[in-house]
Amino acid sequence: MSELIQFLFSGVTVGAVYALVALGFTIIYNASDVVNFAQGEFVMLGGMITWFAHEAGLPLPLAALIAIVLTSALGVAMNKLAIEPARGAPVVSLIIITIGASIFIQGTAQLVFGKQIHTFPAFSGDTPIHVGGATILPQSLWMIAGALAVFLALWLFFSRTLLGRAVMATANNRLAAQLVGINTNFVMTLSFALSAAIGALGGVLATPVTLTAYGVGIGFALKGFAGAMLGGMGNPKGALLGGFLIGLIEALTAGYLSSQYKDAVAFVVILLVLFFLPQGLFGRKTTDRV
């Protein structure tokens, strides 16, 4: 029993990061139909900038805030400089643009922050909490709470606020949204700012547990992408669930089957789900217009 609890703890800890990345994917996808493969770099920057500012002597909360604001600004810049000019480009071009952005950010981070691995202190100490013979770090609770809070905020935003509905309207039909007076450019900018901020928040919360280095982004991006697709791209509920599911599948496979093939099992599950539900668990249905 205590083993199972430990596996679940491991799964939700990792899953929380994947969920935060997947949520970031969702927002941008909703506003622009773009899957931003540089999402993982936002996580990396969140951790790296916080470490850098903290090392420079700033208190941790301030350092984290700076990291989130700077990353958010970078998200906006990316939208203005790379995504908006490419509007209407085919999916494969957009994939290459965002992967190009990811490689560019990685290369820059390597020059600015160096190649070393970094970390900063956990928010509430390193003493594990014991539950039923298993242990979880206080920082893991921060991560899980972060993922849930972001989800809740997004859900409220998309369903209860005018602006949030404007984003959804833009997602469904850009032209129609423009016709009813929605400033779709602003919606795009906003979604990149939000998405980058969420990614950075993920980095801030996760770094005391996972550590960070300039190259960690692509791994998070792939797992988050997988989580978002599993849940159904564009749906915050799907992203949250998909992220946690991938984390849990990995941990349970490692615990009960084979640690060698834990990533493989995650992808087999995705393939199976997509086979029966080609839009993922909660994806929106689309029809082809002639």
Partner: protein
């Protein structure tokens, strides 16, 4: 005399392969040339899949991995001749593409992306983890193809670099010839119709699923042969050949060069193979420049490098 696009493409390739060595200052350039040709073969497959049939794959390196490891394993375990191992790898790749393609090609856009990504990761995990068979992440030796020794016996004495340069060059021309024949065949026309609009293609009676599957299988064979040639040339292979970054590299080369045409994609393969070699002096900035180039080309030269350049030239001529 007016050349058809097909003979023009083949002529350009043949001239490039034959005459470039005249300008090579050292043997190292044969190696770079051979790498460009090997990548060129893989991206020709991407042209068929993405450029013509409009399907995305983020896992084609998986097929390259199968082709490469076929050349390492089949000769060692079943004493198959390396040349036959290339054929075996291609056959396994086609079969696997058929098996995997049937369910996943129903998916669209990013969903197809994640499914193919998953396939590629599975292949690379097997190559990494099945140590008893593949010797794991440290890699495995690949036997000599033996053709160079044969040529020497016939009086044609080439250095290792020269041999692989010309051999891969010939393979590339053959691959391009086959692809261009496909382009003009009924299958090719059906594929292109499918790219334009799936619904429209279906209404004129194109069997969508079959067409997509054919394109997927053919492109898998191209990737597999490219992997085999890389393995035989390097005489050593590691699971990196099947990695995610290699998949992305293939797609990027094709799209950057111009995924609509064989020559464009090969041009992209050349540009992206040369770029890191040219940037070694600024190794620190290599990643930044690569990322920047990817973004800039896709934003400003959407059809790809070669079509955009050709249009500029034509515009000036008129």
């Amino acid at each position: 005399m007016k050349l058809t696009p097909k003979s023009a493409t083949l002529l350009v390739l043949a001239v490039l392969v034959a005459l470039s060595p005249l300008f090579f200052p050292s043997g190292y350039y044969y190696r770079v040339g051979a790498l460009i040709f090997v990548n060129g073969i893989a991206v020709t497959g991407i042209v068929i899949l993405t450029g013509w049939a409009g399907q995305i794959s983020l896992g084609h390196a998986g097929f390259a991995g199968i082709g490469a490891y076929a050349c390492a394993l089949a000769p060692a375990h079943w004493s198959l001749h390396p040349a036959l191992a290339v054929v075996l790898g291609a056959a396994i790749s086609a079969l696997l593409a058929w098996l995997v393609g049937r369910p996943i090609l129903r998916l669209r856009g990013y969903y197809l992306g994640v499914a193919t990504l998953g396939f590629g990761i599975l292949v690379s995990m097997v190559l990494n983890n099945e140590r008893d068979l593949t010797r794991g992440p440290d890699g495995i030796e690949v036997p000599e193809l033996g053709l160079r020794a044969l040529l020497k016996g016939w009086g044609l004495d080439l250095s290792n670099g020269q041999f692989w340069y010309f051999f891969c060059g010939l393979c590339l021309i053959a691959g391009a010839w086959l692809a261009l024949n496909l382009y003009n065949s009924p299958t090719g026309r059906a594929l292109r119709a499918l790219h334009g609009s799936e619904v429209a293609a279906r209404t004129v009676g194109v069997d969508l699923a079959r067409m997509k599957l054919q394109a997927f299988m053919i492109s898998a064979v191209y990737a597999s042969v490219s992997g085999s040639l890389l393995a035989l040339q390097n005489k050593f292979i590691t699971p990196d050949v099947a990695g995610f970054m290699h998949s992305i590299e293939m797609v990027t080369m094709a799209v950057l060069g111009g995924v609509g045409s064989v020559l464009g994609a090969i041009f992209g393969a050349g540009a992206l193979t040369l770029l890191p070699q040219a940037l070694t002096v600024f190794a620190e900035y290599e990643q930044m420049v690569l990322g920047l180039v990817m973004m800039l080309v896709m934003i400003f030269l959407r059809e790809g490098l070669l079509p955009s350049i050709l249009r500029k030239l034509r515009g000036r001529g008129e």
